[in-house]
Symmetry: C2
Subunit: 426 residues, 2 copies
Amino acid sequence: MHIDQASEAELKEQLNDLYEQYEQLAERKLGLDLTRGKPGAEQVALSNALDGILGGDYRAADGTDVRNYGGLDGLAEARELFGALLGVAPEETLVGGNSSLTLMYQVIDFAMNEGLRGEDTAWALNDQVKFLCPVPGYDRHFSICEYMHIEMLPVPMLDSGPDMDRVEELVRNDPDIKGIWCVPRFSNPSGCVYSDDTVERLAKLPQLAGEHFIVMWDNAYAVHSLYDDAPALASIADYCRAHDTLDHVFQFGSTSKVTFAGGGVAFVGSSERNLSTLKAHLAFQTIGPDKVNQLRHVRFLPDRAAIEAHMARHAALIRPRFEAVLDTLERELAGTGMGHWTAPRGGYFISFDTRPGLAREVVDLAGNIGVKLTPAGATHPYGRDEADTNIRLAPTFPSSEEVQASIDAFVVCVKLATVKQALAAG
Amino acid sequence: MHIDQASEAELKEQLNDLYEQYEQLAERKLGLDLTRGKPGAEQVALSNALDGILGGDYRAADGTDVRNYGGLDGLAEARELFGALLGVAPEETLVGGNSSLTLMYQVIDFAMNEGLRGEDTAWALNDQVKFLCPVPGYDRHFSICEYMHIEMLPVPMLDSGPDMDRVEELVRNDPDIKGIWCVPRFSNPSGCVYSDDTVERLAKLPQLAGEHFIVMWDNAYAVHSLYDDAPALASIADYCRAHDTLDHVFQFGSTSKVTFAGGGVAFVGSSERNLSTLKAHLAFQTIGPDKVNQLRHVRFLPDRAAIEAHMARHAALIRPRFEAVLDTLERELAGTGMGHWTAPRGGYFISFDTRPGLAREVVDLAGNIGVKLTPAGATHPYGRDEADTNIRLAPTFPSSEEVQASIDAFVVCVKLATVKQALAAG
């Protein structure tokens, strides 16, 4: 039954019933955790062969001894492999350490404090610097902005990606806006894949937004399909070439959710001009990345086909967890008006929206019975989800049984909070 | 014969002879390189067992799955092992990625722009920030300062380390001085080991220099003895504890010249308070270091004894190269007044001083016959060696034969430049 059609008596009966279920859950003293976008133990084990794969052969294809110093760009074959994933040439690719977040931080840091086109282009010379943040989004993107004193302007996410009408209107009217964060495929947390039209409009955006505007294209889930029919993402690099804006787009990726979350390889793709600037800055803080680990990765996953076969093994492990969540939500909440949610074809998250004003309460209710959820608000800049509706669900790390138990408990919390609210509203 | 005792006729005869030798060298079309403080191929091969050492066991002692995310501090057993090398507790140690230079950059960056004791302590709030740079020293330290617009004040290196009378006088009279760079054991490039008295005076220096002064203690060659009788380095951490200055000292180290130069593990030791501040900043740019590689290192070199046995194998490889250089310098130049040099008991470098005004010319002469030397001036801030005397020799990377050929040619260049100068002076 839809909650709006329930009588007060029916709501009261439901409430009693839900309190009872909630108490039973409390007695089970659950210790569950749906907060983390982490691969599970079986997933990381898929890459156990990485350690030892070199078999004593530490020479790259061009003869480079990967054990020794040097090579700020990363290994030639790693640049070729990961550049291809981003749709850019090896010369347009820099392969770094284990963290794409670090590469993103560095790009923003250098653009802010040193200037991507020389000292007089440093954003910090302006009184204000603003970034567009599609919401819901990724809290670590927001944290970088907050740390750098960049003002964040939320823009709504649609099924096709950021609301481009709004984005274009904003940048047209505010020259302080210097960038936008994007997770274009299987977005964190909605799971949407940006439409071709959205990708092209983002590639053209610098023409509206001005000379020092950049698109931060965090393609963290580029190859992370759950189903063979998962939507493809258009190549922003191709659109950039067509519109002469490659200087304004930084693409990021990593193998954190391909091989080892903590011991993978991260990469950035952009114009050769941008990479040359980036390297000039990077040279002050490092002699070069860990090329041994880069060589391991290239040997383990030599080409696109190997990566896709490997990702299919990941999908087989996590698809049942996503389906457990989605089946339960569908069975328990569809048609009730108690919430709506996304059904991603890939990535690591499901985005759930409660009725307005209930996200925080649902997260608290779940926490009180031992089911940890991502804090409400975390998907919004400054932790401010004004409508208090969005909750990010991350089903990959717990076991299938734990995922099922967590989502069962979650559903009870959603219902309880919603029925309470309905009764209070009278 | 000492050059000052040679008659003009004798000098002219020597000059002719030297030109002849120089021409003969030129005809050999040498392609030699003494510039790089890099381990040789045989050295890095000593650690080939690193890859594959985990044998599928990716669990740290405390059960941590090193393949997954998390742990900004680094692995517990890595903190214990490398902390002990620095003379600090595991809680006073952070183990990071493959580059100690990165850790140094981050400490300076955060102290400059964010403040180690809160926003109002950021050095950047001052009109001027200055650092003491013992010379000759390491060019990458100087580069960080230059990048950060930190004014560098050179102070002379003695056999006992920096000239502490001068250092104390400078910090007493100039509150803009916020730090000092130190390579305390087998200093780059002189190879000297700081005396106990120098280490204690450096540990006490913050008491003279003020609240926001830090000692950057780059102990890059902590375990890099060439001989069993190599001088030990006093523990600065012990002195800091005695004088309550641990908040003012950051110690750095890495396995770059222990295992793989490009694929090792770097670490920083300081007070828990400092590390806590550092982590608060670091959290914005990374989720954590590559713990897989840390575990490899701890398995490969589980304790101090294993590290020392391993370093003895390095010493056996590079000692003959150092001895080839030193024996040749001794045989050819001792007593001639044409230069003086250090005879380090460890580390990666030999520091050579020509007569004033000749370093650049010697480097050019050598370069013109295919013997590449570190550019003259590189061992001084801003590349300014006012006396133009210092040349850094790095004998580890080339083969023994190449080292011998290089130093033979070097000696001819030194003699040629010196005799020419003596004749010109009349």
